[in-house]
Symmetry: C2
């Protein structure tokens, strides 16, 4: 129960999930690993995503984590079932929690999902939604311009607002739409702007919040939750520049992030 929760992501996006874990489960220790060196995963072949993800998992399993969160939509789509099979600890991805939350809040059964091209092409969200409820109608939209905006730190410029507005134009035409899933862990950073654009009749679902909630459920269900009281010391690792990672983390997170460590998790350097 004292062991940490492991969080893996292709880069910094999963920090929005880590932030929510820290907020909703303040007694739990987080170990985060971002594969910033080889980010993004969205455009890579499935086999490569699986290999890279397994390398991250190996690193965290040596840290004796009690639960693994795949805080990356692409990695969830490609490796969730495999990792559930392979590991003897609970494994939670970011897709199913978002889908379940959407089903909970929608009244009209008109749901939309936005994400990277990889996530949208994988159809992981429509599949997760319709596996639970065939009555749900799903509109999917790739918003490839959002991640570069967010990583640039542009949360409020006129150009950013225009990009959000133009990207979402087609979704605003969907009749009776009442629920929008942010199917990319970067998007919660600009959720205020997305909400403004879509209007208050549309409820925004953040994968990060919902994943943290399900981690809480699974910890409790498996009697793995930390039961004492403590101020956990979180750890952050990146395969890329520790300095750059720390800069972004300090903008995104509610608490200051210090002491980010650079790690090498693969034997051969990948030359993209």
């Amino acid at each position: 129960m004292d062991q940490p929760i492991g969080v893996i992501d292709s880069g910094v996006g999963g920090l929005t999930v880590a932030r929510e874990l820290m907020r909703q489960l303040p007694k739990e220790q987080i170990i985060y690993l971002g594969d910033t060196l080889r980010c993004p995963y969205g455009s890579r072949p499935e086999q490569e995503v699986i290999q890279f993800t397994l390398e991250m998992v190996d690193f965290l399993m040596q840290k004796k984590i009690k639960l693994l969160v795949i805080a990356c939509n692409t990695a969830t789509a490609f490796t969730l079932d495999l990792l559930k099979e392979k590991l003897d600890i609970p494994v939670i991805g970011v897709i199913q929690p978002g889908a379940r939350a959407a089903i909970k809040v929608t009244k009209t059964k008109e749901v939309a999902v936005i994400g990277t091209e990889g996530t949208i092409k994988s159809e992981a969200y429509p599949q997760a939604l319709q596996q639970i409820s065939s009555k749900i109608s799903v509109s999917s939209l790739a918003c490839p311009q959002f991640v570069p905006l967010v990583e640039r730190g542009d949360f409020s410029s006129h150009e950013m607002k225009e990009v959000v507005s133009e990207s979402l134009a087609s979704l605003k035409q969907v009749k009776n739409l009442d629920t929008l899933i942010l199917g990319c862990t970067h998007y919660p950073i600009i959720s205020d702007q997305i909400q403004l654009e879509m209007g208050n009749q549309v409820q925004i679902i953040s994968s990060g919040e919902e994943t943290a909630r399900e981690v809480s459920t699974i910890l409790s269900y498996n009697q793995l939750a930390y039961r004492g009281d403590r101020q956990p010391q979180h750890e952050f690792f990146t395969t890329g520049s520790a300095q750059l990672f720390q800069q972004i983390a300090n903008v995104w997170m509610d608490e200051p992030v210090e002491n980010v460590k650079h790690v090498v998790i693969n034997q051969t350097i990948d030359n993209k």
Copy 2:
């Protein structure tokens, strides 16, 4: 995976949980048992609540349920740990899901819970909340007049509005309160009035919705979810009057409830 989900309650209150299960998990079959004959449980001694709950569980286990929902706050407080230990299927109560949802939505960390006197006295909600996050401040309030109002079918009279207003008066004084847990399965029936009274700055958490969401999580996590497509035939049993149960169910539920069956689950009749 084809097996039904079992739902037990001391009476009709758990129907709000069943309704949410049917809405959020439309492919799953529900078997509901309400112990209307011996309702309410709130004022009974712990040992009696345990005995009655075990009798309900025995009845449902014979129906080969794959998961048990304790849709009653009192029974959850007294029997959740016991039943988790005793049964080899997942068991979900109504308290923890509401607590986790509150932690997810609160920004101010000022949370309130309303329930029957039994539930409030048990302190099950403050315990569940603070076990996860010691920073949460919890105000608890018993609203003993709400259940009789709801069972009378009074959802809109002037008197009903006055009772709600007077009952909640002290909560409206709590500074920075932004989240209110409906800690009784009857209360979602009058949640519109409660919302009106508390104002839009307070988000209402319904145990029923949140419990259904967690049932979905646990089914998926344990690979117990029904994977085909079907229109399930739900079954409703009551230890009291089938006619009265059916009347209430048809007002509360989104779908018509037919063919409610009366059952005897205990050997000796309980004379309260």
